[in-house]
Amino acid sequence: MNRLPSTSPEPGARPGPEARLNREDLARLVAADIKSGSYVNLGIGQPTLVSNYLRPEQAVTLHTENGMLGMGPEAHGADIDEDLINAGKVPVTELPGASYFHHADSFAMMRGGHLDVCVLGAFQVSATGDLANWHTGAPDAIPAVGGAMDLATGAKDVYVMMNLFAKDGTAKLVPTCTYPLTGVGCVTRIYTPEAVFLLTEDGIRVRETFGITLAGLQGRVKVELLPPLALRKVARTAN
């Protein structure tokens, strides 16, 4: 598993684990965790930031569900081509080794489990990995789902990037989602400014925390959290 090089001394490095992460650091952390050679789909919004921090030597290939593998960075100026856009309808570029395919082939690629990772935003994630990110469920809301359910269902790993706490302070990691679901039991990791959570067969394990103690985190989250593996080893030694 890749770890964030948090002790790296380069200038402008993100704050250490003593502070909650900002959006850029969170994106950098997700990017660093993506295994070399992976095929990845980055959802619209915050997940798109991850692409800024993928290193060329990671050789990550980006998929966009509107029919392309090998998507490059956003296009600007003369590079803009109205026939070359990403799922967010933003003009993008093409990298060497890219390929184009139609929508059924693109979603076959997703549904068939060929993407290694997709990174999505979320309204809520449940203790069992249920994802809610497409619909508030408000009675007057006009629903729109796009490719959210396909991404949630299809990728080998579904990483969620979200704020851990809503504006009212309640946790978005919940015992059971109250928003309509996007997918059942699909989330494998949650990246938040305060902590990274791994959804394992044993339950939700905290991998690391930022600017908060494990106890502090547990105090604000209504699902049982398992300690980082290193901490657990310490605890066992103490027994």
Partner: protein, 232 residues
């Protein structure tokens, strides 16, 4: 052999009231804007439209919806910042919405073209969008039963056609075009170029001519063509 229409109006002239019409495109890429305008001009109403979205701004599909020509829309993402005409029609109860996850939409279109009677997909299992649908657990995983979407007409945009009706597309403008062409009784294509039969390499044809009924040339804006040539 396809009909080569001389105008977009001629190309869509056969479209009757209450038809099901697939419209290609994702965002502006691959959107057959001139064919949609011609459909608006042609006056057909009571349409069921299949498209990824439900119209944007004050153009194309949005105008069809504004004019209340669309009785029902089957799409994955109707709500956008500029989907005001759809929003108004929907809130007024004047348009029926069938919301389908994007990949299920694509697969249902593909199934119609491929003669598949129905299929089970894991997408949407356990969500609002599978409520009331048949489900089945296959190898321990929940699946939803989905059915093909056939259309009377497909309006799509490709880059180049040969006179036999073979099509190639450009970049992400390919999107829904190839599958919609297979799922409609009549497929009407607007292209930037028409070339002689035999001028397209048989290895690179994306839509074989069997799926194409009518072609109409709508020249692309010059900058795009120039870019295309540079990219070749």
């Amino acid at each position: 052999m396809p009909i080569i229409a001389s105008t977009v109006a001629e190309a869509v002239a056969g479209i009757r009231d209450n038809s099901t019409v697939m419209i290609g495109g994702f965002g502006n890429a691959g959107q057959p804007m001139e064919l949609i305008d011609a459909l608006l001009g042609g006056g057909a109403t009571g349409l069921t439209v299949v498209n990824n979205n439900a119209g944007q701004g004050d153009a194309g599909l949005a105008l069809l919806i504004k004019e209340r020509r669309v009785a029902k829309i089957i799409c994955s993402f109707p709500r956008q910042s500029d989907s005001w005409h759809f929003d108004a029609a929907y809130r007024a109860g004047e348009i029926e919405l069938e919301l389908v996850p994007q990949g299920t939409l694509a697969e249902r279109i593909r199934a119609a073209g491929a003669g598949i009677g129905g299929f089970f997909t894991p997408t949407g299992y356990g969500t609002l969008l599978s409520e009331g649908k048949e489900t089945r657990v296959i190898d321990g995983r929940g699946h939803v039963y989905e059915t093909p979407i056939h259309a009377d007409y497909a309006l799509i945009k490709a880059h180049t056609a040969d006179r036999a009706g073979n099509l190639i597309y450009r970049k992400t403008a390919r999107n829904f075009g190839p599958i919609m062409a297979t799922a409609a009784s009549i497929t009407i294509v607007q292209v930037s170029n028409i070339v002689a039969t035999g001028d397209l390499d048989p290895e690179v044809i994306v839509t074989p001519c069997i799926y194409v009924n009518t072609i109409v040339r709508v020249p692309a804006p010059t900058p795009t063509l120039a870019e295309y040539e540079v990219n070749q």
